[in-house]
């Protein structure tokens, strides 16, 4: 893999990586760049508490009682003011859609469980579980088959 650094004071700063497939390296690069530009977190609210939630701390973002909530690594629920659709655009590529109202941090998925009725649940490291829709299950399979 070649490395090229172009220093141009006139051009807009950007990191562009040309790769054959996303990998752990591209994820690390993405995290580093987001972290350096301060775009690696969202604000989470719980009771009177307001917390900066780094993307890597979030296990799942889902909708509960028509409100967007983020589940962190300790299993805490934080209300998020952004819409799920908007979040999907800013979240790193390791956040995958598991159903129409949930985005999962794939690093934090402990396993997938078959449940009664033939459904599949994603079980997170904090113990939180959320169903995986049939359509998303196929997409996740296709995503991992490249490994």
């Amino acid at each position: 893999m070649n490395y090229k650094l172009i220093i141009d004071k006139e051009a807009e700063e950007a990191f562009i990586a040309i790769v054959h497939a996303p990998s752990a390296l591209t994820e690390q690069l993405e995290n580093l760049i987001r972290s350096a530009s301060g775009a690696d977190c969202i604000m989470g609210y719980r009771d009177e508490e307001m917390r900066k939630l780094r993307f890597s701390e979030i296990e799942c973002i889902t909708i509960q009682d028509r409100k967007v909530v983020a589940v962190d690594k300790s299993g805490g629920f934080y209300r998020v003011h952004d819409r799920l659709r908007d979040l999907e655009e800013v979240l790193p590529s390791y956040f995958i859609r598991i159903n129409k109202s949930s985005l999962a941090n794939e690093h934090c998925i402990a396993r997938f469980d078959t449940v009664f009725g033939g459904g599949v649940d994603a079980v997170f490291q904090c113990g939180f579980r959320e169903y995986v829709s049939r359509r998303c299950f196929s997409e996740i399979r296709r995503r991992y088959e490249g490994i």
Partner: protein
């Protein structure tokens, strides 16, 4: 729910013409094979109307599989129940299945066994796919750990 009701109606409308068409093919086959030579106007109209309704329900019932929150087995069970009630009603009112315990029981057993086989196959496939996905997930986690 409104969306699914609309989809049920739309898909039902797309399918309902196929009922009488299938009926015409069956009547033609029966006539060519010498089983049946003629039918009364009552029998023909009842057959046409009932198969149109049957096709409408069967076509519309496919919407069950679009309900994301519904696990596949429950969707199959619900779909099977709708199909069973629709088929047995149409068969009985047209006289294609004789009224009585034995014919209904035979039809029911064949239908239930068929559906159980389908459900067993689906469950086995889901379990196998989930196990495979878990394996791939582990591989991905291992790759990430080795890079770190």
């Amino acid at each position: 729910m409104k969306k699914y009701a609309g989809d049920f109606f739309r898909q039902g409308l797309v399918s309902f013409g196929f009922g009488p068409l299938a009926l015409a093919v069956v009547y033609l086959c029966l006539q060519k094979s010498g089983v049946m030579q003629s039918i009364t106007a009552d029998e023909a109209s009842l057959g046409i109307f009932s198969t149109a309704v049957l096709a409408f329900v069967i076509g519309g019932a496919k919407v069950i599989y679009d309900i994301e929150r519904l696990p596949i087995m429950l969707a199959v069970l619900l779909h099977g129940s709708i199909l069973y009630v629709s088929y047995i009603t149409v068969y009985l009112i047209n006289g294609w299945l004789k009224w009585g315990v034995t014919p209904v029981l035979v039809f029911t057993v064949v239908f239930v066994v068929g559906y159980l086989l389908i459900m067993a196959l689906i469950l086995t496939t889901i379990k196998r796919r989930t196990a495979r996905l878990n394996k791939m997930l582990q591989q991905k986690h291992q790759q990430e750990n080795s890079l770190e």
